[in-house]
Point group: C2
Chain length 209, copies 2
DNA sequence: GTGTACATGTAATCCGTTACATGATTCC
DNA sequence: GGAATCATGTAACGGATTACATGTACAC
């Protein structure tokens, strides 16, 4: 049947979530992604999760069954990983080329364009980012706390601890950058209008994608 | 004329690069993105850069002229930001909603699925990631060094210092995670086959996208 | 009775990549 | 003579999002 492990990473992430549980609905998966995957990968939208689940089922990596509530009216579809699915995702973990981590940090992009920013606004953006990092750290910490007892969650738990430190560092570095920029504003103080010593950007070698 | 600041972030990143220089070709931009944007945002492909440049020109945010070599044969197209472009990208920096930073860390995803990994392979993946982070740190450091003298590059320089610390931390945390996992392997040692105490994943609240 | 959470999907759209095509120049 | 770099683009594809559509259950 369907062969090759050429699915997008998102599919493996979803299948990986299924490998941690017995049975989950699309809705469950989204909610769970929001408090686990979210910290180090990203949380796909509802619509994509439903689409991924269909694809996984088509590949034979997951099965689903309709569960009815007592009254037998509304149904929901619960998904479970199959042995083939477990094997496939294991194969992906162990044998597929590891993609470079992707970082799209729009806050840093704005700081990089600081010469175009109103100083107060830039400070505000960084302050909000510091709060964001702190909130993320707290959430990760709470989740790490919740999973640390169960030995079945050893790996997620270890990654969660990584996340806690990551967001801690994120906050610290942003604070220091903010301080740096404040120093810049008080020291150099270019009155107005960019100095005309602008040289043409001269990229130096090192083309490592 | 084209109005509104509803362009994808990538467009602003490209226009932002133009705001740092006088004139750049698409090729220049790609090369430069590889050693600057790359560290905190990502480097778009050639084809996208060319497409973005056309779009920016269509919006009146950039102009281009064809530059011929001495022999007058091969031409290349050099792009420059316009006043309207400078204003537009400033407006984006100061007034558009700041998107949450995006992190897609496929190494952590694999670690999170460590129960499916061959321990040696997982260790290898992490080791390679440590080397990757070290290489990125070194590149960022070299670039920070190169830009620290010129006051025109104060903001990019500050961001570059942020990057150096970021990749330093990345390396450190990965090393510690590796140590954690090694401890895990020697301590708990589940002989084979997952323990059947698997509980259904019970997501807890906190839906913060 | 009104809002929030549960629950699942379709359609349109677009962002971005890879693969492909082309050709000059420079270095070894 | 051949590889690497400069230089620009097109076409096909697919990944992912937003907006829309729909309906139940439950708490206040």
């Amino acid at each position: 049947m369907p062969s090759g492990s050429d699915l997008p990473t998102t599919s493996w992430a979803v299948l990986g979530m299924l490998s941690h549980a017995d049975e989950l609905s699309g809705y469950d998966l989204k909610k769970w992604a929001d408090w686990s995957l979210q910290f180090f990968y990203w949380s796909p939208s509802f619509s994509q999760i439903y689409a991924e689940l269909k694809r996984l089922e088509k590949h034979g990596y997951a099965t689903s069954r309709t569960v009815l509530s007592e009254d037998g009216v509304r149904g929901k579809r619960m998904y479970a990983i199959t042995p083939a699915g477990r094997e496939a995702v294991s194969h992906w973990v162990n044998h597929s080329p590891v993609e470079a981590p992707v970082l799209k940090h729009s806050v840093m992009l704005r700081a990089w364009l600081g010469h175009l920013a109103e100083p107060d606004r830039l400070r505000e953006i960084l302050t909000e980012h510091i709060d964001y990092a702190e909130a993320m750290r707290r959430r990760a910490e709470a989740d790490a706390e919740g999973s640390k007892t169960n030995p079945d969650w050893a790996f997620p738990s270890a990654v969660l601890r990584w996340c806690v430190r990551h967001y801690e560092a994120e906050r610290e570095f942003a604070k220091d950058l903010l301080a740096d920029l404040d120093k810049l504003a008080t020291t150099g103080r270019n009155p107005r209008g960019r100095s005309r010593s602008r040289r043409t950007a001269k990229p130096r070698g090192s083309t490592r994608p």
